[in-house]
Subunit: 378 residues, 2 copies
């Protein structure tokens, strides 16, 4: 397989844009990525677009007014992993020699869908009974705290950290630092999760230009893609231990194998902190620490900016919001900025290797999720 690099990235500040058309949001991100790339857009041989609720032909509509018609465009959907799946397909198209340059896009506009939890499968009887995402993660949180003897402060401190990171990120929705007390006092959503422990929805778009390293021209030095893994299957090991994110464990093993490295080699990670408990579970599933020790890792500052292995320097989903199709692509954008040393006041010192992680689905039966992990290197 050919080596692949990211040569251009762009995104829009995540927020609420109910009055802008979805293609308009996507176009702004693509234009930013193309400007960053600086090469001839006509070199793009294929494009992939990730979205969940954008209607038909989102990728084609985005490229239409940019004059980038004619090439193969494929829209992909993998729930919360939609944007990262688009990135993966663009990566594969280059790695396998189909094209030299590919465009990956992710876009979502959730603000028109109303507030609260996002719409889910109407045929899903678990959801019909109220077993929506916050309820699922509340169960995991409750179990985790009980199993390992931590208090709710362990959860709240994830939000405190990520909101603190976002204070330095003009692309994040919520940039005001919060205290542990504020997090715990915010409105209850599903006990023990309070409002500030649940990622906001929102609107967003992000894009990346990928290029074969053997075909790269001028422009920014490519950030190399060392691994691209996608799996489906269980989100947990099942009712026996709902605190283990089984699909992430399995996908991470595949990604580390592809990259030829392990968790100790990561300079940073952008992971899927849809809820505070999620980030703790994924520390463990990604091998950053042993089961039950995630709160200690957090407390010791390891995953804070300035720590040994910052997690979610962008502010993560908890501060940026989670516009489904855009989320995974935004993780890539942040990682590229970090690996270029261009992340400004939230720069991770000496960043060399970054991991991005999305995982979604798994509402009913808990065994049909989609998890994507990418590993990028300067």
């Amino acid at each position: 397989m050919r080596q692949v690099g990211v040569v251009g990235v762009g995104m829009i500040p995540f927020g609420r844009y109910p009055d802008r058309a979805v293609p308009d949001l996507g176009r702004e991100a693509v234009l930013a990525a193309l400007a960053d790339y600086g090469g001839d857009p006509r070199r793009i041989g294929a494009a992939y677009c990730g979205s969940v609720y954008s209607g038909m032909m989102t990728g084609q509509r985005i490229l239409r007014d940019l004059g980038l018609t004619g090439r193969p465009v494929t829209n992909v959907e993998n729930a919360c992993s939609s944007g990262s799946t688009a990135f993966r397909q663009a990566y594969l198209a280059i790695a396998h020699g189909e094209v030299d340059v590919a465009l990956a896009m992710g876009v979502e506009r959730l603000s028109r869908l109303g507030g609260g939890t996002i719409p889910l499968d109407e045929d899903d009887w678990n959801v019909q009974q109220g077993f929506v995402m916050p309820a699922i993660y509340a169960l995991r949180a409750r179990r985790y705290l009980d199993q390992y003897g931590w208090g709710v402060e362990a959860l709240a401190d994830v939000a405190v950290k990520n909101r603190g990171h976002a204070a330095h990120n003009p692309y994040a929705q919520f940039r005001d630092p919060v205290t542990r007390e504020q997090v715990l006092a915010s409105r209850p959503v599903a006990e023990p999760l309070t409002l500030m422990q649940c990622c906001p929805t929102g609107d967003g778009a992000a894009a990346a230009v990928l290029c074969a390293l053997d075909a790269a021209g001028g422009g920014p030095r490519p950030v190399r893609v060392l691994a691209s893994a996608l799996t489906s299957g269980r989100l947990e090991t099942g009712p026996d231990d709902i605190t283990v994110a089984e699909i992430t464990v399995r996908t991470a093993a595949e990604a580390y194998r592809q990259a030829g490295l392990g968790p100790d080699d990561l300079s940073l990670a952008e992971l899927h902190d849809a809820f505070t408990i999620s980030e703790l579970m994924y520390y463990e599933a990604l091998g950053l620490c042993r089961p039950g020790e995630a709160p200690r890792l957090l407390r010791d500052g390891v995953t804070r900016l300035g720590g040994r292995r910052p997690v979610n320097p962008s502010g993560g989903l908890l501060a940026k919001g989670h516009p489904l199709g855009a989320t995974g692509m935004a993780q890539i954008v942040e990682s590229v900025w970090q690996l270029r040393g261009a992340a400004g006041p939230r720069q991770v010192d000496g960043a060399r290797v970054a991991l991005t992680h999305c995982t979604g689905g798994g509402i009913s039966g808990l065994d049909h999720g989609a998890c994507t992990i990418h590993i990028l290197a300067a």
Copy 2:
């Protein structure tokens, strides 16, 4: 690139299943394809699912209860070309050596969306003004008849032919033959198109197992995939000549190039007859005849079962219905049956090469469609 074959196909009769869950429809088609394949389902290394309105994670939900979890599953959407895009991605995964065996699925349940034309992009001002698909194709039809001096009978005869074919297809929704007079007397939809000249919607599912020829085991003799082309761009050459399906012309050129053959080599075609005028336009765009001569080809019986080059032996969209994500996959299923000589009373004698064609989108601005063409050989 490795050579790829189709080694198993299955579909459900298209119809109305408002009380069945989408994954249930898909599962039935996948089970049929797996039974036809006969090999070990655990050989499947990747799966792609095409759908437009099925909600999140359709492919994962279909495979969940079949126990086929763990592998990469990617859902794709390209409007009317969604199913064929899934087939193409499965093809690419094998052709490029990523996996040996892949599963392609297409599914859609439109019956719950209500009748009439399908929902479209809410931001599309053309659609808001009533410029929906039947209106677009009515303009094309009016122009075509005027430009080349044909009467409305030329349109009606497409429906007569395809309904006649469907009389032999237990998988089609409308299997009663109709006369030219009945077609023309059916309710007007958008002049000159009457009800029987517009494809019905409906629910459906279809699936195929693909395998690298160098990795094929026992089971049915593979039907080879000679070409897989996808492009985006204009559906017409624009206002100067709306009777030319520009995107199909361009995609066909690419497909014929890949396969190393031309329209004269086709034994049959399954093409995107969403409206009667569509089939006539695509005869020309695919090179089956010269501009303005499609009605003559039809009148001479060339494209009828028993003719030199039958088109839509399955009955096409006009008789089967058009459950978006399932349509392109069903064309593949029909072609495989034909190329195996297993199509029963609608068998095309001596079928050696089949072309399948889907094209969709292009509502607004007329320049963001998606067209897929596959060429299969016995």
